[in-house]
Amino acid sequence: MTLADKIVVALALLLLPFLYIEFWGNSSQGEAVQIRSANSEDITLPLDQDKRLQIKGALGSSTIEIKNRQVRFIDSPCQGKQCITSGWLHKDGQLAACLPNGVTVQIIGRDQRFDAVNF
């Protein structure tokens, strides 16, 4: 084995931890937020840019806040306000919905371990 061979093998071994974490690691941190409304086009926004926005729904306007890589409903014209009390979402796949207003907010990312979640 030449010196070049050894360097290549060393580089390959160095890459292994990175690849393990990248593909098998338990990273469930979301990367983007997808907002859907029956009244408008879907919106996808990066989770790392703080923002507050109004989404028009069937009953009125829902206010959604993205902050510190998290997202939440802060206002919605529904009765129960469960979408608001569900609080911050930050993990991939988490979803909050205001069904009366037809607005859903979901964290999306690269963690596609599951085709569906049962609950």
Binding site: C83, A97, V117
Partner: protein, 399 residues
């Protein structure tokens, strides 16, 4: 979950929209195998559009590096069409594999319409065929049913009988008394004990309904049919039939967390996560084979709080109150209606009667999590699920 549940909700669900799935570890292993095979052949190999050329004399180090650098695979990732729709009073995620986008989109529209029609026909509190049936039964009249309606009621009678009436669709008045016949149950006082006891004493049972020559009647005017305990499963079954009729054999219909999966993703099984009843995230996972429904009933789905106490929507017909001791029950069975009803019955049966109840309903794969966090499961279920959390969990497996 009640079919008429329309409200704000917070849930964990698979992401939706047309998308290409990320590489799955199984795929990556396949890719490695593919690269190895190519290496052994000593030729060149095209991986993700990049040419990875090497000769046998360059030796193993280059081959290993090449393989690792282009680990992302030499086979195409499965293309899954996903769409989320509002139907059955909840969010329904439809995933379809193996057909073009146009065909998948048409199928989504067809199954959405089918599920919405069922929802409207069987809504428990908005004017529907079911509310009409209940009015007639309360007035002591008989009511005529078409074959499909008859089939749904007959299924309810059979499932109730097998569960020894723990699953009791005739007890709609109890559900209504607790305030769950509304889109959003306010955090107000639970019903008076006297009213609860009066309904328990009324002793309504599906087995006491008369269903003959497409005529349905009840000698007991206290009967109010509420198909919420199995209509979602019924709607999912009908939707899967519709997909098959349209030539789609690989799909998941996930109706607000309860699903039926058919086929696979080009040889890879569908992977399902089961939500943790007390934390965010997934407690366990499984892979579906062929045609299977996975249904969960949980005390976190619909509830209200009063003076710091939580009252959930799964009412035990024996006490007339929310069933105690269980957090969630997950059932795997081919038939979604049966899985749906069994999840409710086993939840109510609790840790004492869960196994007998499941057996009587023809269910082999059951997982029950009690309020202390202990997992009870059948041997058949233990062979299917993979626990996804690191914490030590007390697990009891029974034959």
């Amino acid at each position: 979950m009640n079919i008429g549940n329309v409200g704000c909700t917070s849930r964990t669900a698979a992401s939706s929209e047309l998308m290409v799935r990320g590489a799955h570890p199984t795929q990556l292993l396949k890719s490695v195998g593919c690269a190895l095979r190519t290496m052994m052949a000593g030729g060149k190999h095209i991986i993700n559009g990049a040419q990875c050329v090497y000769a046998r004399h360059l030796g193993a180090p280059y081959a290993v590096l090449c393989m690792i650098l282009f680990l992302t695979g030499c086979e195409q990732r499965p293309q899954v069409y996903q769409q989320q729709v509002l139907a059955l009073g909840t969010l329904v995620d439809i995933s379809i594999y193996g057909v073009n986008e146009e065909k998948a989109a048409k199928a989504v529209t067809a199954v959405t319409n089918k599920m919405e029609a069922i929802h409207h026909d069987w809504h428990a509190w908005q004017p529907s065929k079911l509310t009409y049936i209940n009015q007639q039964l309360a007035a002591g009249n008989s009511v005529s049913l078409n074959p499909k309606q008859q089939q749904l009621i007959q299924t309810g009678i059979e499932l109730a009988r097998q569960s020894d009436d723990l699953f009791n669709p005739a007890a709609g008045r109890l559900i209504a008394l607790w305030g769950f016949h509304s889109d959003e149950r306010p955090d107000a006082a639970p019903p008076a004990n006297s009213k609860i006891q009066a309904l328990v004493k009324a002793d309504v049972r599906m087995s006491k309904l008369f269903l003959q020559d497409q005529q349905l009647s009840s000698p007991n005017p206290a009967v109010m049919i509420d198909v919420g305990g199995y209509a979602k499963g019924y709607a999912v079954d009908q939707a899967i039939d519709e997909l098959r009729r349209l030539g789609i054999n690989n799909a998941i219909i996930n109706a607000g967390g309860d699903l039926r999966a058919i086929g696979d993703k080009g040889g890879l099984p569908w992977r399902i996560g089961i939500r943790h009843p007390r934390q965010t995230g997934v407690i366990a996972s499984l892979e579906t084979h062929g045609d299977e429904s996975v249904f969960t009933s949980g005390d976190y789905e619909r509830y209200f709080e009063f003076h710091g106490q939580r009252f959930h929507h799964i009412i035990d017909p024996r006490s007339g109150r929310p069933a105690q001791g269980t957090s969630s029950v997950t059932i795997i069975h081919r038939d979604a209606s049966r899985a749906d009803a069994a999840a409710t019955a086993v939840f109510i049966a609790g840790t004492d009667l869960w196994r007998e109840t499941a057996r009587a309903m023809g269910i082999d794969e059951v997982m029950l999590i009690d309020t202390a966090g202990t997992i009870y499961m059948t041997e058949a279920m233990s062979r299917r699920v993979h626990i996804e959390i690191d914490n030590q969990i007390n697990t009891i497996v029974v034959p």
